[in-house]
């Protein structure tokens, strides 16, 4: 490896979802005194999916998946 911590040239711009998959979706879950419980983080992740999808909808880039993401909203709202 040339420089540690450096991404491969083909993937220099690491996408947000790639980072969230790891920073939010993985990593050891240790409860801090101030922070969220695991359930809250999962909820946030669902809401995020919705948020990104709705941005895409506004831009008209989204097709048939809008309804599926609507279900996510219902679940997330119910859990919160």
């Amino acid at each position: 490896m040339s420089a540690q911590g450096e991404r491969l040239p083909t993937q220099r711009e690491v996408s947000l979802v790639e980072i969230l998959d790891r920073a939010l979706g993985a990593g050891v879950v240790i409860t801090g005194d101030v922070t969220l419980s695991l359930a809250d983080v999962d909820l946030v992740y669902l809401n995020l999916r919705l948020l990104v999808s709705s941005v895409a909808t506004v831009r008209g880039e989204l097709g048939d998946d809008a309804d599926a993401d609507g279900l996510v909203l219902t679940r997330a709202a119910g859990a919160g």
Binding site: R22, T35, L36
Partner: protein, 272 residues
């Protein structure tokens, strides 16, 4: 004006003797840089955060603000990327926040066994992400080539009457899609098995939704692999080979990393 209350965000834990350079690194709260808290032979990388922004309630609100979340997540990952200079690193989840350093030391004490075990397993290893993306058109062409029966039906449909041709085409489309999916799944499995052999650990992650990944084509494999750092180049070469082998059928095999071993902090038997 009273000073805002501060908390302490923990990014990861490394061996007590390790000191990655924090120079120029911003914390998740960009007002503060990264520091180390060492206790009982273990070091936590931390940074101060303002609790009016990172307290439980405010955090919940901010995490749903995509711009805020992106900045925080990238800052978190930048600290973890720097921590890869250490022999071993145990990444914590984004925004694990304590009231002060005394509580961080308490946490280190409390989680000591888990942390030491993880550090032992992760020493000298990094995580790599390999994804297989399918281009539907390329895959269907490969499916036609792969299945002589489909190619024959395809030729027949061309010459059929308009009415017959409509249904025949629908049937053919479905058969093509099924064949294409089967091809993609078989290829994804082959890729995963080959990489699993070259890695010290492997984990299948749910494929990313195309709206989130911003990628065209569907993701048929989203794998995380724990790789010895000394073998990273060989691993990348294998990914390159796999990409070449599958490119003709509309599949792209992509590598990203090295990542801190986010997906390998729990022992293999505890993983689903």
């Amino acid at each position: 004006m009273t000073e805002p209350e501060l908390g302490c965000c923990v990014y990861c834990v490394v061996q007590g003797g390790e000191r990655p350079s924090f120079e120029g690194l911003e914390g998740v709260d960009p007002r503060f840089g990264v520091d180390a808290v060492t206790y009982g032979g273990l070091t936590a990388l931390v940074s101060r955060v303002r609790l009016d922004e990172f307290g439980a309630e405010a955090l919940k609100r901010h995490l749903e603000d995509l711009e805020w979340l992106e900045r925080a997540a990238r800052a978190h990952d930048a600290v973890l990327a720097r921590a890869l200079d250490c022999d071993a690193v145990v990444p914590l989840r984004l925004c694990t926040i304590f009231t002060d350093e005394a509580h961080v030391r308490e946490m280190i004490e409390r989680e000591r066994e888990l942390l030491l075990d993880a550090l032992g397993r992760l020493r000298g290893r990094s995580e790599w992400s390999v994804k297989v993306l399918a281009d539907p058109r390329g895959l269907e062409a490969a499916a036609r080539e792969h299945s002589p029966a489909l190619a024959a039906t395809s030729a027949e449909t061309e010459g059929a009457s308009p009415g017959r041709s409509f249904f025949a085409r629908k049937q053919l489309d479905r058969a093509l899609r099924d064949e294409a999916r089967a091809l993609a799944e078989a290829a994804a499995e082959e890729v995963h098995i080959r990489l699993e052999q070259a890695a010290a650990g492997a984990k299948l992650l749910p494929p990313q939704h195309p709206d989130l990944s911003g990628r065209s084509g569907s993701m048929v494999l989203n794998g995380a692999y724990l790789v010895e750092r000394s073998r990273a180049e060989q691993f990348a070469a294998i990914v390159g080979e796999l990409h070449e082998r599958h490119r003709r059928m509309g599949l792209a095999v992509e590598l990203s990393g090295p990542w801190a071993p986010y997906n390998f902090v729990t022992p293999p038997e505890a993983q689903p």
